[in-house]
């Protein structure tokens, strides 16, 4: 076993390299010009791709994962990627392609899933509700994140996650 110093570090010192400034020499410093950034943003804003089929496909992957999770007693580590990957895809793609309400609810649910300590029936319920909400948003064509119906959906999901955390805290006697 390698010898350790009094701070618990191995005695071999790390090697340290000074920053590489070649790129800086080549292109200079300073922020990119506002004109270019504006053009790039205008391009992003102008994208009209219909992403509904892709989102529905990701939702289907989530549903399959959830159905499997109900049948098998999945451990958290095994189960999570099957749900988080499509969920993350939905969040990313919807946000880049102007489905802002879907992006917002997905972002909230992704944060929740990445935070939960274990997977159980309550988490499945919340994820099933999320799938239903996104399908409804797609069916109704709700894109604007200030839409009152969309806000109601988000509030429902938020309330469900709060109930989940309250239940967990109560179970721990907190």
């Amino acid at each position: 076993m390698a010898k350790k110093d009094k701070y618990g570090y191995k005695e071999s010192l790390p090697r340290f390299f000074k920053a590489d400034v070649e790129l800086q020499k080549k292109v200079g410093t300073g922020s990119l010009d506002n004109g270019s950034v504006g053009k790039a943003q205008a391009y992003l804003d102008s994208i009209k791709t219909d992403i509904a089929p892709q989102l529905r496909e990701s939702l289907m992957l989530m549903e399959t994962a959830l159905a499997n999770a109900r049948e098998v007693n999945y451990g958290r580590e095994e189960f999570l990627p099957d749900v988080t990957k499509p969920l993350m895809d939905i969040k990313s793609v919807s946000g880049m392609f102007h489905e802002m309400m879907i992006c917002r609810v997905s972002s909230f649910v992704l944060t929740f899933v990445e935070d939960v300590r274990k997977f159980d029936a309550d988490v499945t319920q919340i994820l099933m509700a999320y799938v239903k909400v996104v399908k409804t948003l797609l069916d109704l064509g709700i894109k604007d994140e200030t839409n009152p119906h969309g806000q109601n959906f988000i509030n429902e999901i938020r309330a469900a996650t709060k109930r989940y955390y309250d239940k967990q805290a109560a179970a721990k006697g907190g």
Binding site: K10, F17, V27, T29, S31, V37, Q41, E114
Partner: protein, 144 residues
Amino acid sequence: MLEVVINSLKYLGVGQVFQARNGESGFQQFVRQKPDIVITDWEMEPVDGLELVKWIRLDRMSPRRTVPVIMMTGYAAGPRVALARDRGITEFLVKPFTANELARRIAYVIDHPRDFVETYEFFGPDRRRRKSQDYQGPERRNDE
């Protein structure tokens, strides 16, 4: 998504953009083209972005181990950021992103090139962004 990123980079005035669909072909492109900056997604198959970063930082074939790597992903949780950082990424860009956020990350890695640290289990940018004046422990780096 790949097309969107490439077009955004072109609008931002990035000269040459090389593209790849996964980490394996990305590494081949990296070795061949020796780009100034690498922008990679996290989720790719069969080789993901984390593995690509590992190859860039540690593989013998890597032509420039200190290249700035911007990891682009929809994940934003702290443990994910820490995991990517521990693999040696330079900057993290959460999707969805605006043109301004992309431009700022690119400008940042150019304006603030990071020192690099190599230990027996890590090679990547120095994780410390601030110098603490209160640190009482030993200075473990040769050049400090």
